[in-house]
Each structure stands twice: as structure tokens, then as C-alpha cells.
């Protein structure tokens, strides 16, 4: 899942990015409103964490411009402004959630996760596909009751495929949603990741849950047998 963090505090931006990356998100970040808007317009994000008081262009203006451009990415406003009026203004301008500084990292992660799920129309954080169990909040994956240890990036790939459950996802989409803008995906990086993921979640002798649609991409679905 790919998230954009727009925050002018360098330290906070760095560590929010690190916190999100640690749980498997691909994160782009910007230190001012203009850069944030440009990134949001140029890329497809699953969620945007947006500070309100930003240099060059404040968060509300960024939000207004995004909605004006028809970009419906879910936005979590992160700000020190905590009055009812501030919150109402933010939500009225099209924000989807509001988190006041200082915050607990766990809460930020949970809210971002909830926004990502909403983007794919998934309400629960627990996804079950056949014998595969994925908890996107606790970052736990089980197959037939056995816990599977995944790297953050592998988890991000599985999470994205789960969100798109039953839909064919092409390599470019995966690249966009799993890798941040600093990573130059190699041509076979997606295939390699899918291969590794299959090795971990599939059980020997059983058909793979991740099907390859030749020339189209991959689809995660329960075996129809």
C-alpha cells in the first residue's frame, strides 16, 4: 500500500515515514504543500497523511485542490489544531479523518489502515480467503492456523492482493502501490516478490492462492475446486 506523508517537520516526517515503512507501506513524503500536491496529483496513493500548517500552501488548500481535481484518495489530517472548528473545517473540505498531534504511532497506523481499507471497500481488518487469514491491523498472516512470517514488503503485496481480492492486478499497479518513488522497480521485482510470497503462503500440493493471468497480471482468489 502506498501512502503520501505531507509534513513540514523534518523529524516527524522522517519518523512517520519510517513507522509506516516498518509495517510495509510504501511511503512518499513532502515537506511543503506544493510538493505534496504535486506528488498527490502525479501518483496514485492509497492514503494521504496531510499536515494543515504547511509552508507554501496550507493543508486545506492542498485538500481543496485535490478534490477539485477529482482525486478522491482518502486523506488523514494530522495537525496541532484541535478545536472543534478546525476539525469541522478540515472534514468539510473533504478530509476523511483527523488526528491531533501529539498522537500514538499505533493510532496513526490504525487510522491509515482503516482509510486504506475504505479505499478498497473492505470494512474489516481481518480478511479470510479459504484457509488464509490476514489481519491487516496486527500484521498477522496465518494459513490453516499456522503463523506465516512475512517481510513488510511481502505483507504489503499480500495486503494489496487481498484488497483487490478476485480482481486481476497488473505489475504496474503493484509497483505503484507497493514501492515508493525512491525505489526503481526492476522489471522482475514484482514477479520475484510474488514468487516468494507464494512460497510462504501456499501449502505443498495445493493450488496456489495467487493465480497468474498470462499477459494481464495476478489475482488472489480462493480455489474454486
Amino acid at each position: 500500500m502506498k501512502v503520501l506523508v505531507v509534513e513540514d517537520s523534518r523529524r516527524l516526517r522522517t519518523y512517520i515515514k519510517a513507522g509506516l515503512e516498518d509495517v510495509g507501506y510504501a511511503v512518499d513524503s513532502a515537506g511543503d504543500g506544493e510538493e505534496g500536491l504535486w506528488l498527490a496529483q502525479s501518483n496514485e496513493y492509497d492514503a494521504i497523511v496531510l499536515d494543515l500548517m504547511l509552508p507554501k500552501m496550507d493543508g486545506i488548500q492542498v485538500l481543496q485542490q485535490l478534490r477539485k481535481d477529482g482525486i478522491g484518495t482518502h486523506v488523514l489530517i494530522l495537525t496541532a489544531k484541535d478545536t472543534v472548528e478546525d476539525r469541522v473545517v478540515g472534514l468539510e473540505q473533504g478530509a476523511d479523518d483527523y488526528l491531533i498531534k501529539p498522537f500514538a504511532l499505533e493510532e496513526l497506523l490504525a487510522r491509515v489502515q482503516a482509510l486504506v481499507r475504505r479505499g478498497y471497500g473492505v470494512k474489516s481488518s481481518q480478511i479470510v480467503i479459504g484457509s488464509l487469514f490476514v489481519d491487516t491491523t496486527k500484521r498477522v498472516v496465518k494459513r490453516g492456523g499456522d503463523v506465516i512470517d512475512l517481510t513488510p514488503r511481502e505483507f504489503a503485496l499480500l495486503e494489496y492482493l487481498c484488497m483487490k481480492q478476485g480482481q486481476v492486478v497488473n505489475r504496474t499497479e503493484i509497483e505503484h502501490h507497493i514501492y515508493d518513488d525512491l525505489v526503481e522497480p526492476m522489471s522482475n521485482v514484482v514477479d520475484t516478490s510474488v514468487y516468494r510470497l507464494r512460497k510462504k503462503i501456499d501449502r505443498p500440493g495445493d493450488p496456489s492462492l495467487i493465480k497468474t493471468r498470462r499477459g494481464q497480471g495476478y489475482v488472489l482468489e480462493e480455489d474454486q475446486q
Binding site: R11, L12, V84, K101, P102
Partner: protein
């Protein structure tokens, strides 16, 4: 209570009544004197005129006095219902002549030495009140009629005459005058009372308006200003000065709040940075089984950030006005449940300090209030009580319902609080310990309690009911009676 209106009305009325009474009495006495003078002048003219109508003749060698007025009947001196009287004496007191109206009666004989017309009150022979004039005069022979041996200086040629007439008409006039003055006085007095009361009222209206406006002012709202355009000149400086003071108070409070708010907001991002850095790094260290000492350090950093966050949140809650009141949502709330919930969250410190905690509550104490804010009040109070009570000390909580609502009294042992501390106890950051060495206390708990109590319109009082005891009272206005059955319990042993 002293009232300017009352004082002014009474003083003015008393002064006006005294002035009016003096004026009326003076005018009455002057008029009375004038009327009597007129009456007396008339009497004097009459007696002077009558006494001049005399003659003396020598008849057969004897002097004979003739009084012309006696020779023909003058109607007023004839017997009637309201006659006048006269009587004439010589030096020896012999009656020379008297009016027919006297009959056998006589007028009191005046002292011979009374010379000029002398007038005084007397009782007439018919019993009426009268006024009499006395004159001593000389009998004179008619011009051209020589009387031998006549000597004007000899008292034997003199006579004394008394003339008396009823003073009924004078008394009636005086009575009418008195009556007139009395009626006018009553009417004028009533008018005066009305004029004074309404005049004072109208005059004091602006002052009363200012007093009403001041009394109606919401002490928490500093936006009110007194309108000075329609005020009388005397009150304009007062109101201008009051407006100026309100401006200064508001400006000082705004500045203080703005400062606290700005500081709080400015601190939020650094605190968020501290927390995020600590949390992200801790998560990484936990995952990678990193150095435990570094983890402990980061846990401390996180704790400090958490304390700062609590402090900033409390500060912002205290300085905010109006905003949080919109979030108050009253509902039927059982204070007994809240007390139970509030004190249980401190069971760890109670056990650690071996505190003796007792709760005395009714079965329920239902009031209409915002349960979340009320719980925050109680948590802060219990936190203070448990924290500051010395080890093995006691904390007693009593919840009572009465006709006016519910009262919660939380009493705990205190080692060092003095009566003078009570004035500052609700001040933000106030702490008895001047060294401020308690790391996890900020001195904001009771300020928050006060702020929350303002939101809920709840009364909170601090007192030292006896030596070594500190008590907080919280009064909720209630709308339902609780059951009277009371239970005593030790919550710590119950749990």
C-alpha cells in the same frame, strides 16, 4: 442595606416638610396677627370715636357729663342675640353710663392707670369670647360753651370707657384660615411626596440601570461594555473607567490565554516528534531484539513525551472558553457509579501506600449532568487525594442526596496544607511543594476540576474542616431523589 434612593427620598422629604412647616406656620401667624390687628384697629376706632362724643354742661351749678352716644339707641348696643357692650366709669369707679345690652351686668372694670386704647381678650357677659378695648379720655365742653372751673388736667373731668364685642367673626376667620392652611398642607405634602419619590426615581434611573447591568453581567463574559452616550454627565466617567478596566482585564486574560494556547500548540509538534521517534525506534529495537538499555532510555523518553502531552492537553482545556461548553451533554447520571468508577482506577496507589479508603453512599444518586466531565472531575479529585495523603493515611468519600441535589465530600489526611493555601489551590501550576519535585504532578488537576465544574455549573469548594484534614466538596444540582438507604463499604476490600 443602604439605599441611595431611600436615603435621598427621606432626607429630601424631611427637609422639605420642615421648610414647608416653617413657612406655613409663619404665614399663618402673620395672617392671624394681621386679622387681629384689623379687628383691633376697628375696635380702637370705634372706642376712640365713641369716647369723643362727650360733652360737659353746668346745670344748676353742677357739672354734668353728657355722653351723646347714650342719648340715642345704637342698634349694636341694644339687647339682642349678639350685642356689643360699653360701660363708662369716672375716676372713683362710679358707672357713668353703660349700654342697654349690659342690662344688670357689668363689664370688668379696668385699672384706671390704663391710659391709651388698650385691647385684650375677655369673656362677654353673655358668655361669648370677646375682645375689649379700654380708653381713658377727657370730657370736653362744646366749643363756645364756657364751663367755669373746667380744668382739663383734673382727673375728675376724665372718664374711662370699655367697649367689648364678640370675636366670633375673628375666630371664624382664623379657623377658616387654619383649615385652609391644613388642607393646602395635606395636599401639598401628598404632592411633595409624589414629586420627591418620582423625581428621585427618575434621577437615579441611570444609576439603577448601571447597577442592574452590572449585576446581570456574566463574570465569565468579558465582552460586555457599558453604553455611555445616554448617561448623565456624573456617571459617564464611572462607566468609562469600568469599560477601561474591563478592556484591560479582557486584554490581559486574552493575552494569557493566547500565550498558553500558542505555547501548547507550539509544543504539540515537538512532543509528536519525540513520541514518534521513540515509538518507531522502540518498535524496531523490539523487533530486532536490540539493546535493552537503549530500549529503557527510549521508554523514559516516551514517558516524558506522554507527561508533556498530558500537560499540554490540560493547559489547553483550562484556557479554552465557550468551545468545550458546546460539548457538554447532560443525561441522567448516577454519581455513585461515577465515584465507584473514579476511585477504582487508583487501586494500585491505594494498595502501595496502604491507604484506608471508605465510601459512604446512598443506593444511587441520580443527577442530570455530563457523565464524562463529571467523571473527569472525580478522577482528578481522587487522584489528588490518593497522591497527597501520607502513607497509611485515610481517604473518606461521602455522597449525599438532599432536596437541592447531590453533594460529594472527599476528605483526606494532609500533612502540610494551611488555610492560606486554599486561596491558591485552584491556580494552574500551584503546588505546595515549592521545589516541584513530583515528576508526575503538574499542579493542574484542581484547575481542571474548576474548569470542568464551570462547564457543568457544579459548585466545588476546598476546605480544611479540621487540623490535618483536607476536604473537597462537589455539589450537583439534582432533579431526582435517591433512596435513603445508605451503605458503608470499603471499596478496596470489596473489589
Amino acid at each position: 442595606m443602604k439605599s441611595i434612593r431611600h436615603h435621598l427620598s427621606v432626607t429630601l422629604l424631611a427637609a422639605l416638610f420642615i421648610l414647608f412647616s416653617f413657612a406655613a406656620t409663619g404665614l399663618y401667624l402673620f395672617t392671624k396677627k394681621t386679622l387681629i390687628q384689623q379687628f383691633d384697629d376697628s375696635l380702637e376706632k370705634k372706642i376712640t370715636g365713641l369716647s369723643g362724643m362727650t360733652d360737659i354742661e353746668e346745670v344748676e351749678g353742677q357739672m354734668r357729663f353728657e355722653f351723646e352716644f347714650a342719648e340715642f339707641p345704637i342698634p349694636e348696643f341694644q339687647p339682642s342675640d349678639t350685642p356689643e357692650y360699653y360701660e363708662v366709669w369716672n375716676q372713683d369707679g362710679r358707672v357713668l353710663v353703660k349700654s342697654a345690652s349690659l342690662g344688670a351686668d357689668e363689664l370688668p372694670r379696668p385699672d384706671w392707670n390704663l391710659n391709651g386704647p388698650h385691647i385684650e381678650d375677655l369673656t362677654l357677659p353673655d358668655g361669648r369670647r370677646g375682645r375689649g378695648a379700654v380708653i381713658r379720655n377727657l370730657v370736653r365742653p362744646e366749643p363756645g360753651n364756657e364751663v367755669r372751673g373746667y380744668d382739663a388736667g383734673n382727673p375728675k373731668y376724665q372718664f374711662q370707657m370699655a367697649l367689648a364685642q364678640s370675636r366670633e367673626s375673628l375666630d371664624q376667620s382664623l379657623m377658616a384660615l387654619l383649615l385652609g392652611f391644613s388642607i393646602t398642607g395635606v395636599i401639598l405634602s401628598s404632592g411633595l411626596i409624589l414629586v420627591v419619590i418620582s423625581g428621585v426615581g427618575i434621577g437615579l434611573n441611570p444609576l439603577e440601570r448601571i447597577a442592574r447591568e452590572t449585576a446581570d453581567m456574566d463574570v465569565s463574559d468579558l465582552t460586555h461594555r457599558f453604553e455611555t452616550e445616554s448617561l448623565p454627565a456624573e456617571l459617564i466617567p464611572v462607566c468609562q473607567r469600568l469599560n477601561g478596566l474591563l478592556d484591560r482585564v479582557k486584554s490581559a486574560l486574552d493575552r494569557e490565554k493566547r500565550f498558553s494556547r500558542d505555547v501548547s500548540h507550539e509544543l504539540r509538534t515537538p512532543i509528536a516528534e519525540l513520541k514518534t521517534i521513540s515509538e518507531v525506534t522502540l518498535r524496531r529495537l523490539e523487533k530486532e531484539h536490540g539493546d535493552e538499555k537503549i530500549q529503557e532510555c527510549l521508554m523514559d523518553v516516551l514517558d516524558i513525551a506522554q507527561q508533556m502531552e498530558t500537560l499540554v492537553t490540560a493547559l489547553l482545556t483550562i484556557v479554552r472558553e465557550g468551545e468545550t461548553s458546546a460539548q457538554v451533554s447532560n443525561q441522567e447520571t448516577d454519581l455513585v457509579d461515577l465515584v465507584d468508577k473514579a476511585h477504582r482506577s487508583f487501586s494500585e496507589i491505594v494498595t502501595e501506600k496502604h491507604l484506608n479508603v471508605s465510601l459512604t453512599t446512598p443506593e444511587n444518586a441520580v443527577v442530570s449532568t455530563d457523565s464524562n466531565i463529571a467523571l473527569a472531575i472525580l478522577r482528578n479529585l481522587f487522584s489528588n487525594a490518593f497522591y497527597y495523603t501520607p502513607p497509611e493515611g485515610s481517604v473518606e468519600c461521602v455522597v449525599e442526596m438532599n432536596g437541592r441535589g447531590a453533594e460529594i465530600r472527599l476528605t483526606n489526611n494532609t500533612a502540610d496544607l494551611e488555610p492560606s493555601d486554599l486561596d491558591q489551590i485552584f491556580e494552574p501550576f500551584w503546588r505546595k511543594d515549592a521545589a516541584r519535585s513530583e515528576e508526575d504532578r503538574h499542579g493542574l488537576g484542581l484547575s481542571l476540576v474548576q474548569r470542568f465544574s464551570e462547564l457543568l455549573n457544579v459548585k466545588v469548594e476546598a476546605s480544611l474542616p479540621e487540623e490535618g484534614k483536607f476536604q473537597m466538596k462537589v455539589r450537583f444540582a439534582g432533579d431526582s431523589e435517591s433512596e435513603s438507604k445508605t451503605r458503608n463499604s470499603n471499596p478496596m476490600t470489596d473489589s
